[in-house]
Symmetry: C2
Subunit: 291 residues, 2 copies
Amino acid sequence: MGKSMGDHVLSQDDINKLMVDKAKTGKKVVRLKGGDPYVFGRGSEEALFIKENGLEFETLPGLTSGIVCLNTAGIPASHRNMATSISFITGHRSENQNEDFKKYAKLPGTLVFYMGLKNLPNIIKDLIAGGIKKDKKIAIISNGSSPKQKVYTSTVEKVLEEIDLEKIKRPAIIVVSDTVGLREYLNYFENKNFGKKIALTRDYESTIKDKEKLEDLGFDVKIVPTIKILEKNTDLLEEKFKDFSYDYLVFTSKNAVKIFFDKLIENHDIRDIGKVKIAAIGEKPKRNRKI
Amino acid sequence: MGKSMGDHVLSQDDINKLMVDKAKTGKKVVRLKGGDPYVFGRGSEEALFIKENGLEFETLPGLTSGIVCLNTAGIPASHRNMATSISFITGHRSENQNEDFKKYAKLPGTLVFYMGLKNLPNIIKDLIAGGIKKDKKIAIISNGSSPKQKVYTSTVEKVLEEIDLEKIKRPAIIVVSDTVGLREYLNYFENKNFGKKIALTRDYESTIKDKEKLEDLGFDVKIVPTIKILEKNTDLLEEKFKDFSYDYLVFTSKNAVKIFFDKLIENHDIRDIGKVKIAAIGEKPKRNRKI
């Protein structure tokens, strides 16, 4: 279950009610969330609601964006003699809560603001009022950990004039830390292929592995199938299986190998094709069934 | 690679050097760490050392104990109107750094101290000097997320008199947060089987699945094999495979099924046993090869 189901966006109350209603019919309900359920995920509210309704739950910890996006941006959350604590802070606040940000100004560690882009002018104002070092480094990580990741860096004093916040794509998190300077050395993620797009035009099944390999190299890959593999003559094949009397079986494509054996084991077993000699043309058909 | 290899414990310098030396021989080196490499893991120091030596690296984010152990202790890291930030703080400090803790006293969120058990008296003293609410709740999570997890709760004011720190087993993390109070409702992890130990006496392979099932139920399970499955007469089997002329093949144990077919596919293929009729006694042998 997620916040948006089809075209509808459910309110938190709707989600709570839906979870409990489904669970009460005897179903196991999985509430899938991005990040960690207890880090600004409202997971604790949902868990309490479940308990109040006499039901049981389990929670699984997850990787929150403050951990993941700093990693892929090459900004260590902690570093000896540079950052001895890490604070995750909700960046959107009601008006009267804004002054809270002052309290973080003098911590000897890394500050990570979630959902703070719109409120950044207030955050900066309060951090400065709280006495933060004005040349403290700041980074805004947009689309972190995805091939669209973009990292903007500046200082607390200059960020509002140097970076046009309107242009930054969301989701984005904000990092205030001396460790932002280490990004220069630790940015392993944004390599030379970053931001380059590749379309693969074969069928999904044939290209999914290529997609993964290319993504590992940093490309932004989409599968846009322009062909489709269809089964043909499988009735005839089934007929032949019943009394298989060939001496040689020659495969010319890996798709044929897959279809042949998938079909065979549907109603038969490999012994039904007896002692036929099997040949394959090319490397791929061979690999496909370790012939 | 880990900090302790065999009986020896490597220093950080030794680890750095070992990684780089091995990598320079052309090997890919995996540095495996508990938690997240950038959360007090010295991962950034290691990565910088690798870079300085002209080598490349990648880092993978991980689940840090501040996330995992709070989850299994039923203490939400954040909760609306109760904790709007989460700070991970190294609890061991050199003498002159101790006063840092004062700065965390008035944050409107959850404080998680790593490696702070020994230094807890100083942490408490500084938090109180910094103006923390004295009835703020505190939890010490020992062996978090394991079947040996034990959680001690108190308040900032009373923790040092109420809890005997000497008795707490490490590793332990300390949580200072109003959300500690929610543990009463959200503790799903420490169930009725918690702390109960079970020994399984069959061979490892036969019991590993039972072990996992029992662990899911909360038991502390060890496999202590008192029997061992050995192959016998496999030369004879190999002889028979060469000219297999039986009409029936009857299996009486799942181990026999495994050994028979493992041996068969070593040098032959299932077609070599031709159209023999296969029978199995009991449910397990059948399941073992989907006969």
